[in-house]
């Protein structure tokens, strides 16, 4: 067993545990930051975990007339996110499954998770479920070009879309982080992440008005352990996306060799980076209002332009 495989396996396991355990805390942190900035006391960053524990213990309830899709969707979504959490370079640069740790695969896997929830939303047969699914998939479709072209921009330098390769190339050549291409790509990816994780200004995760909901509308019918899985899954998605953003552009601290210390540094660095990004995102949200659904394409068109410029810049300006 080679060194990098060991590192990958250990790191992958560690990453998965860190993200599962930490994701609700990240959500708690973001809520807390928001609450404090809005002048509220807040429920504390452990509140999401307390909610999850309560919901996991409840009786599972399925609405009448729904199919297996409804029941399987939360599992599928969490499982997919878990896979991504395990294979992407968060704590270690090596991956347990190099054949999966491809940026295209990761983005597509996360989209598959979204699709599972969207199908569940339709499966309920309620107007809100359908509406949420329709909006969610629309946004997903429009985000896709930005995401892939941004990946293109990132991969030009590394000559590969393999996540470890991209991270390695950034580590090898730190100045590239400040290149125009990388900055433009980062900006584009931020918008992608905002849209994919359902944050303001694309979607308001805290809304209680069904007609403005996107993500929440799809999951209205979930309760008990199913809802817990959904909540956990969403939190993990946020963590994964933020982690990807952090490590693709600022990979320092990531463990490149097997060793307790290196892994510990990797975990800490990851937690800090994601925490800072999450806090920043939450802070920014305070000053934003949700845009109308039909203004979202404009936002995404802007991010697409950034991504395209990033590709061109990576070739022309480098």
């Amino acid at each position: 067993m080679t060194d990098s495989t060991t590192l990958g396996l250990v790191g992958g396991l560690l990453q998965a545990v860190v993200i599962v355990a930490g994701a609700p805390l990240l959500v708690g942190l973001m809520r807390q930051v928001r609450a404090r900035m809005e002048g509220r006391v807040g429920a504390g960053i452990r509140q999401p975990w307390r909610d999850l524990r309560k919901q996991f213990r409840k009786e599972p309830i399925t609405p009448r007339g729904t199919s297996e899709v409804f029941r399987a969707a939360p599992v599928a979504m969490v499982a997919i996110t878990l896979v991504v959490a395990a294979i992407a370079p968060f704590v270690t640069a090596a991956s347990p499954l190099p054949g999966v740790a491809d940026l295209f695969v990761v983005v597509a896997l996360l989209a598959t998770g979204t699709v599972a929830i969207a199908l569940a939303g339709i499966d309920t047969g309620t107007a809100f479920g359908g509406m949420g699914a329709s909006r969610e998939t629309t946004i997903l479709a429009l985000v896709e070009p930005t995401a892939l072209v941004a990946i293109f921009a990132l991969s030009v330098r590394a000559g590969s879309t393999n996540l470890s390769a991209i991270v390695d190339s950034t580590l090898a050549e730190p100045s590239a982080v400040l290149s125009p291409a990388a900055l433009l790509a980062a900006a584009a990816l931020v918008l992608v992440i905002v849209a994919e994780t359902g944050r303001l200004p694309v979607d308001n995760p805290a809304t209680h008005l069904e007609l403005t909901m996107v993500h929440e509308a799809m999951v209205l019918e979930y309760a008990g352990p199913d809802l817990a899985l959904i909540e956990l899954g969403s939190a993990m998605r946020s963590a994964v996306y933020l982690g990807l953003l952090a490590n693709l552009f600022v990979p320092w601290g990531i463990a490149t060799e097997a060793g307790v210390l290196a892994l510990l540094v990797g975990v800490v660095a990851f937690v800090v980076k994601v925490g800072v990004l999450g806090a920043a995102l939450a802070a920014a949200e305070v000053f934003l209002a949700k845009v109308r659904l039909f203004r979202v394409p404009e936002l995404l068109a802007g991010s697409f332009l950034l991504a395209l410029l990033a590709v061109t810049a990576s070739y022309v300006l480098a």
Binding site: A79, G99, V115, D123, L142, L148, F152, V156
Partner: protein
């Protein structure tokens, strides 16, 4: 005597036997006999293709068939790939057809034509000369046309679809005919080998004309924009197993033609603009096709539009491959061509599955309108599962079939730009602009495909039934399920273990562009020459393991409690009626608004007021139609020109005998004058 020869002989023999059986066997047993024999034909085609892919070669000349030219069959790697795909689709479709044909399709004519259609699908890629190719091509057009009209008494649209199909296919044929004849003009004989040898001496302008004509003709067969108009008409109106054959096997042969002409008959280092044209047309088709699919509410029409999209993606691969070959990177060219071929194979599998499942729905409910389907899972669980699998495969999400090929395509595209430190002259400016846009189009297409298939599967099969027909649907007969099952297995195998075929396809592509094989022989998809690694098996394994963990861990930690059913949240208004459900139309509405300027939908809202007061509304009627813009701006002027031509033409024959004689006198005098002057 080699395997290919025996298998092809078997295919022809059993197809002809099937025709005979269709004519003599009594009606009740006819579909079973014909279906079985046709399935054998298809299977023989698969065997022939597989054997040829593994390296056997086969060529035969039959000069006594077809007067004036004779027939020549040659099976090489490229042809073999398409031969095998057509055969495989035919097996599933033929078995499915046994059950489906009891639905009023068991007449002698239809049953006798079906095996011939399958045979012609097998023979087109096996053609070894231009005449043979054209004969099989037209035979394919003719037999499919007959099959398209087979339900003409049931729906009025069938006749119109058939007209579109007949005219467009003939248009394509004439374009191909002229193109190929230009190519073969300087050649000694019309065998592909002779044409290949002579093509090197063609002037660029002549070769370009020939290529563009072939592109137009073959593109129209593949439903490439702007010659796609027949496809969303004819494919849905054909019986579903025929739709599957047309959409999964016949359209491929257009791609085959383009590759055959572009990479084989004409020199590989062909000019750049052709391939740019191919790429751009492919990109436009992909985008336009999927946009039309997103807003379709007719299940089979949606699938037909999706065919245009997928063929567009294939052409993006083919065009990129030619572009790479022309700028001197054969490795990338082989990779892009492999992606295109893989997409052809994958598309064949999932489109067969989807069309067969759609046919099953049509069979059970009598409708293709998504807005009146829904809730089919209860009555038709297997069909639902089949369609779900197909939808996953078609939407290019892992672990689906199309994901693998699109991944390879994206890999070839993003490696098309050299690393920034390479010499700037290494890539011409055009690729710097074209490749990112191509990636964007592929991405947008993939995203919209997700919406399309979430809509088709979610609205069509999940939720609650929106009509009585959907509520009382029952599962289809076993043969139909078996057909779907075969296609489902193929789609799954291709999704999980694409390396069963990818390296082989890679070798075929490499042979065409003259490069080493672009895909390594391994369990994972490992690119050779550029960095790239994908392991679909591991993706699936990881997902399964994760899912087990996700199910197990909460149960261990929180204990297991029985699941209970409860009422949906209905805002306290009592049980929800199907009218409150989201429909396919409403599902696609946001995207329709986003792409308003491209689609230009026509919407009418009629508000009926109460008699008593203008402020009270009795009913609101909303109608939406998304007419094909390209059709309106391209076809209508042509049609109206032809109509005017026809009307003006009548002036030639007014009935006046003086005028008729006058034509003669004038011509005579003019000719005499010419004689005098000359």
């Amino acid at each position: 005597m080699n395997t290919v020869e025996v298998a092809l002989g078997c295919a022809a023999g059993s197809a002809l036997l099937a025709v005979l059986a269709a004519l003599v066997v009594r009606r009740r047993a006819r579909p079973a006999v014909v279906g079985t024999l046709t399935a054998i034909t298809g299977a023989a085609g698969v065997v022939a293709g597989a054997a040829a892919l593994l390296g056997e070669r086969f060529a035969v000349e039959l000069p006594w068939i077809v007067p004036l030219s004779g027939i020549a069959l040659t099976v090489d790697g490229l042809g073999a790939a398409f031969l095998a795909v057509s055969g495989a689709v035919a097996v599933a479709a033929a078995i499915y057809g046994i059950g489906y044909s009891h639905h009023g399709l068991d007449s002698r004519g239809v049953q006798a034509t079906f095996p011939l259609f399958v045979l012609s699908l097998l023979l087109v890629p096996a053609a070894g000369s231009i005449t043979t190719f054209l004969v099989c091509w037209e035979l394919m057009a003719l037999t499919s046309l007959v099959l398209v009209v087979s339900e003409h008494r049931r729906r009025a649209e069938v006749a119109s679809a058939a007209r579109w199909y007949a005219v467009m296919t003939h248009l394509g044929f004439v374009a191909v005919l002229i193109g190929l004849l230009i190519l073969s003009a300087p050649a000694d004989g019309d065998a592909f080998a002779a044409v290949r040898a002579a093509a090197a001496d063609l002037s660029p302008a002549v070769a370009g004309t020939a290529f563009v004509l072939c592109l137009a003709g073959f593109g129209s067969k593949s439903g490439i924009v702007p010659l796609h108009a027949w496809l969303p008409r004819a494919h849905p109106e054909a019986p579903s197993h025929v739709s599957a054959l047309m959409s999964a096997a016949m359209v491929n042969l257009g791609v085959y033609g383009i590759v055959r002409v572009g990479f084989d008959l004409l020199a590989v280092d062909a000019e750049r603009w052709w391939w740019l044209l191919v790429l751009v047309l492919g990109a436009i088709s992909a985008g336009y096709g999927i946009l039309q699919a997103v807003v379709s509410t007719d299940l089979k029409r949606l699938l037909a539009h999706s065919t245009t999209e997928n063929m567009g993606l294939v052409l993006v691969g083919v065009g990129a491959s030619g572009l790479f070959a022309s700028i001197g990177s054969p490795v990338l060219a082989a990779l892009a061509l492999t992606a295109a071929l893989m997409h052809v194979v994958g598309h064949a599998a999932f489109k067969t599955l989807l069309f067969l499942a759609a046919g099953s729905v049509l069979h059970a409910t009598g409708t293709r309108d998504l807005d009146s389907l829904g809730g089919l899972r209860t009555g038709m669980p297997l069909t639902t599962a089949a369609f779900g699998l197909g939808a996953l495969a078609a939407s290019a999400l892992p672990p689906g079939t199309a994901f693998v090929s699109e991944w390879v395509l994206l890999q070839s595209l993003i490696h098309g730009l050299p690393a920034p430190d390479a010499a700037p002259a290494a890539a011409p400016t055009v690729t710097v602009v074209v490749l990112p846009l191509a990636v964007a189009v592929v991405a947008l297409t993939a995203g919209l495909a997700v919406v399309t298939f979430v809509k088709a599967f979610g609205v069509g099969f999940l939720a609650r039934p929106r009509s009585d027909a959907a509520a009382h649907a029952i599962e289809s007969p076993a043969t139909m399920l078996a057909g779907m099952g075969l296609a489902a297995v193929a789609a799954t195998v291709l999704a999980v273990a694409p390396t069963l075929v990818l390296p082989t396809l890679g070798r075929v592509a490499a042979g065409l562009v003259g490069s080493p094989a672009p895909i390594a022989d391994a369990v994972s998809v490992e690119l050779v020459g550029v960095t790239g690694l994908l392991s679909p098996v591991l993706v699936v394994v990881a997902l399964v393991v994760a899912a087990v963990l996700v199910v197990a861990i909460p149960r261990v930690l929180a204990g297991r409690r029985a699941r209970r059913e409860a009422r949906l949240w209905d805002c306290g208004g009592g049980p929800l009626s199907p009218r409150t459900e989201y429909t396919a139309t409403s599902f696609a509405e946001p995207l329709q608004r986003v792409f308003d300027t491209v689609l230009q939908p026509v919407q009418d809202v009629d508000v009926t007021h109460h008699q008593e007061s203008r402020y009270l509304i009795a009913a609101v009627e909303y109608r939406r139609r998304v007419p094909d813009r390209i059709e309106r701006h391209l076809y209508e002027p042509v049609l109206s020109f032809v109509t005017r031509w026809g009307r003006a033409g009548r002036a030639l024959a007014t009935g006046s005998v003086h005028r008729y004689l006058g034509y003669g006198l004038c011509t005579l005098c003019a000719l005499m004058l010419l004689l005098v002057l000359a």
